[in-house]
Amino acid sequence: MPSEFTSTLNSSTLEAGQTQLKIDGLQLNFGGVAALYNISLEVKQSEILAIIGPNGAGKTSLLNCISGLYHPQRGKITYFNSSEHEMTHMKPHQIAQLGVARSFQNIELFRHMTVLDNLLSGCHIHMKTDLFSSMLYWGKAQREHIQFRRFVEDIIDLLEIEAIRYQTVGSLSYGLQKRVEMGRALAMRPSLLLLDEPMAGMNSEEKEDMARFVLDINEEHGVTIVLIEHDMGVVMDISDRIAVLNFGQKIGEGTPDEVRRNPVVIEAYLGEEHSPYPLRSKL
């Protein structure tokens, strides 16, 4: 087990470029409001896909559908990892077991645990010890626990959080908490990592660090990443492809360059690059 862990954080069995996640005609309603309308999207193995769009466009709703927190009224979400899994109606913990990990827009760490315990709780799906051995904490249970402790140290090393290992998460700064939350998702050894605004509310130095970690995870470990982000500089720099949402609909998709030039996207979200008052031109 330990050698398998240290080699990679990625548990996907697909080759780079193969379709990993397929979203087909997704529709999500809250009462009479369509939060998502006919969204179709494909995510390929080992790419970084960014989802952008104005506030309320349905970006987080889309992630929530993927991780099973919302269940769409129409459409299909299919996940490929050694075999095909239709996960439209799966429960969150079942989807987690397929290797889909995520972080949240508002930090949802386990506040009273230490950083270490938060990371270890990310290993939950890989731990096998039964209840009785856990209570004995002897032999196999202890060995398993120590293996995971060692594995988690790799994530601590990767995210450069050695100094705060034993600290309670609630006492950490916002930027560090965001980092720990990404670490907890990584501890799941994800095949697909969903990051909901990993850089929101950070200063430029913290953003650079975070962007570097995202690239490390993607390039060194080959983890597929879907991220929501508002900082266009970061998005254009690090993503391979971008999908643009507006009012629950997908209005554009493509490489950063294609999206930058897409007139519909400029109209809805990016604004004119050279106009000092993008709103005034519309009046």
Binding site: P92, M113, M127, I146
Partner: protein, 347 residues
Amino acid sequence: MISGIFHSTYEQDMALRHTHAQKIRLAILIVFLLVFPFLANRYYLTLANQIGIAVIGAIGLNILVGYTGQISLGQGGFMAVGAYTAGILTARMGMPWWASTLVACFVTAGVGAAFGLPSLRLKGLYLAIATLAAQEIILWVVTHWKAVTGGVDALVVPNPELFGIRMNTDFNFYWLVWALVILVTFASVNLFRTRFGRAFIAIRDQDIAASVMGVDLFKYKLLAFAISSFWVGLAGALTAHYRSIVTWERFTIDVSVLYLAMIIIGGLGKITGSYLGAIFMTLLPAVLSNLGRVVKGVFPGVEGIIPFIQQATFGLVIILFLILEPEGLNKIWKNIKDYFRLWPFSY
């Protein structure tokens, strides 16, 4: 003075006790527990046995309320399930006391899990009301199902014996109950070093995040109810065998509130807190009544109102704790340790 704790292996890093001071404190505690029964008179032994039972019950409740965040007002009811199951099996069917105790634990775990079913939909105060219903339903069944429980009449349980030795004398029971306390502590502490305990805390702190990490909320909430009730059932069964008499009055809503007060005053989500709370809440009434006896000699008129003063003091202490040290006795104990670790320097 120590400058820091440095580990060179992961085994050391995951150990429960790191410093000499911690190990020495544990050793002192064990020696004290071993020597105590030979020095104490019957009164203190009775108190020690009561504390032992309370510690087991408080650890059980703390697993559910303190660690998993599922507020329960059903403690008294679950203890009743344990006590009556053990009592009935031994008194009516002649099962040995240890076997009936074990069965009682499993039965209580099952009943606890069944009453935990609403926890998937209900949180916080709403769940508290649902567990209050459990308390009332269980007591209603106990007092009305005459054929089995004997209704409101006391159920007399034969004296427990082991190899011809009577176990419920204060001295003998002391060894039994404190051995079980140590067993329960050992199992519970270990539980929270592994994925089960961590899943419980995760549910308490952030249940949505927990489910996204792969924790099956329904399964783990029920498991928390079951494990918690298992210990609570043990506390109930021990009460039955220790007292030799089981009556419904011992398991009213007051008991539920008393145990909640124990873990709040002791420290929520801390095993040590369960100990401190159980000791405090068992000794407080004893100290107050002794105090009353002393005061009675000085102020003769005060005798009639002493029970009320006791009740009021009880309430006052709880309120003061909630205001002054919401994290409970466990935090005070931690502050003391921190102070002496750096002594004589202030930081």
